[in-house]
């Protein structure tokens, strides 16, 4: 399948963009970038640019979709028309419907949905620029936005992919590596407990290779987790400052 002319790793083990096999692309996260949303996050991951917004918990519409015992997490992944070199036809397609679904399911694992019967928690992720690994970027941004929205949850989800290119196991595949490589495994997990909330595989791996891929991706998730925490702490570090000037409970008029 691979174009034989494309060489993804050179003799020194350096990849096309100069990374080694276990290096991530540079990631920066900022929480609370949108004023009108209850919570939001902006994330840059290599050439990916992703914006996530969270609304809710709020009354769910349509009413028949409400769950009387818990909240429904509705994530929507959408790629902007200008996010890829050739214009992407706007609107949901097979791929984005799939990603929306797996993201909703991953996020429902950490949100305390039982606390909000009949409500919905809406997560909107817009991919502004795409260059491989957008579902991991989207999930990472979405869980920062959820925390920023003050939604009760058991932890924060981190996500990262690993795969196989030119017969080698590598972390965080870039655009070309994704297109011409042999396998890509996006992973979403709760770093503190090691619980896996998203796992897909494109391509083929032997069991041994799969184990290596998982180990690599899980290690990277822990690094990303730290970046997510830093982003949230940066956003709220100032909240502590005049805490002493605040009313401490339900104080009068």
């Amino acid at each position: 399948m691979a174009d034989e002319d494309v060489k993804l790793i050179d003799e020194k083990g350096i990849r096309l963009d100069g990374r080694r096999f276990d290096e991530l692309r540079p990631i920066s996260i900022e929480a609370g970038v949108l004023k009108r949303a209850d919570g939001s996050a902006y994330l840059e991951w290599g050439e990916n640019k992703v914006l996530a917004a969270v609304y809710g918990p709020r009354e769910m519409h349509p009413r028949h979709a409400q769950n009387p015992s818990r909240a429904v997490v509705q994530a929507r992944y959408n790629m902007a028309a200008f996010s890829v070199p050739d214009r992407k036809r706007p609107g949901p397609d097979r791929r984005s419907v799939e990603i929306s679904k797996i993201m909703s399911e991953a996020l429902e694992e950490i949100v305390f949905v039982e606390q909000f019967p009949r409500a919905s928690i809406d997560v909107f992720v817009e991919v502004l620029e795409a260059s491989a690994g957008t579902r991991c970027a989207a999930l990472t941004a979405a869980s920062v936005a959820l925390a920023d929205a003050g939604i009760p949850m058991s932890d924060i989800i981190s996500s990262c992919a690993a795969g196989k290119i030119d017969g080698q196991i590598v972390l965080d595949l870039g655009k070309k590596e994704d297109n011409y490589g042999e396998a890509d495994v996006p992973l979403g997990m709760v770093p503190s407990s090691g619980k896996i909330t998203l796992l897909q595989m494109d391509g083929n791996l032997t069991l041994e290779e799969y184990k290596q891929v998982m180990e690599l991706a899980m290690g990277a998730c822990k690094k990303i987790y730290q970046l997510q925490r830093d982003a949230l702490k940066r956003r709220y570090s100032t909240s502590l400052k005049n805490f002493e000037e605040m009313a401490d409970d339900t104080e009068e008029v």
Binding site: P57, A119, S154, L240, E245, E251
Partner: protein
């Protein structure tokens, strides 16, 4: 009061372990395998044996006993549906208002779009919210205006022992009521209302400034030209 709880303030994120000994899990926390963790992003506080997380963002979480400002969204012959800015709508029944309302006569008392000051009398497990107006001080808000701030900023607008809110009232000659759901009712002379709204916006925007109370007082002095020093006994 400086009680023994002068701990280091700590910002916690969801999933952070709370290591304090001998405390019970309170608001914004959860317990798993005998350990207590933070469930929401917020500042840790310990009071009467419970650890709570004071949320720094998010929607209003209705609690029994809170006094809130609602807007009426629907009326039928025996109830009013009220929006409290919470995830769920609230119900005000004709039995819970201070008047004797004939069946089907509800609209004459409170109509759609009216703002009312109510108390949350109950929130059940299904998060059905019951509210009541049959208590001292609760009423329909006829004049003035209602503005909205983030519910997490309510304690800042009230201030330590009500210092901020009483200052606002004294400088602007307005009647102000801060609902726990982040809605604030302001009534009084127009210029006063204007200054009060600006000051509240300033509190919300500059929430992180140290000495916020002084900064707001500075602003109020400049805007109203008033000098009030008598108010220190309130603190």
């Amino acid at each position: 009061m400086n009680d023994k709880k002068e701990l280091k303030r700590e910002l916690l994120l969801p999933g952070d372990l709370i290591e304090d000994e001998g405390v019970k899990p309170g608001r914004g926390t959860f317990k798993r395998d005998g350990k207590i963790y933070a469930a929401t992003l917020g500042i840790k506080t310990v009071r009467s044996g419970y650890v709570n997380i004071a949320a720094q963002s998010g929607r209003y979480d209705p609690k029994k006993g809170d006094r809130v400002i609602g807007t009426v969204t629907d009326v039928n012959s025996s109830i009013w549906m009220v929006d409290l800015n919470a995830p769920f709508p609230a119900v005000l029944h004709v039995n819970d208002v201070p008047w004797r309302v004939e069946f089907g006569d509800t609209k004459r008392y409170i109509d759609v779009g009216d703002a009312i000051l109510v108390k949350i009398s109950n929130v059940d497990e299904l998060k059905k919210i019951q509210i009541s107006m049959d208590e001292e001080g609760l009423r329909k808000l006829n004049n003035g205006q209602v503005i909205e701030i983030a519910p997490s900023q309510v304690p800042r607008v009230i201030g330590r022992k009500g210092s901020m809110i009483s200052m606002l009232k004294n400088y602007t000659d307005c009647r102000i009521y801060v609902g726990q759901n982040g809605r604030i009712w302001i009534d009084g002379p127009l210029e006063g209302q204007y200054v009060a709204v600006k000051a509240i916006q300033m509190i919300e925007e500059k929430a992180q400034v140290i000495g916020l109370t002084d900064a707001v007082e500075e602003y109020l002095k400049a805007e109203t030209g008033k000098v009030l020093e008598v108010d220190k006994e309130n603190v």
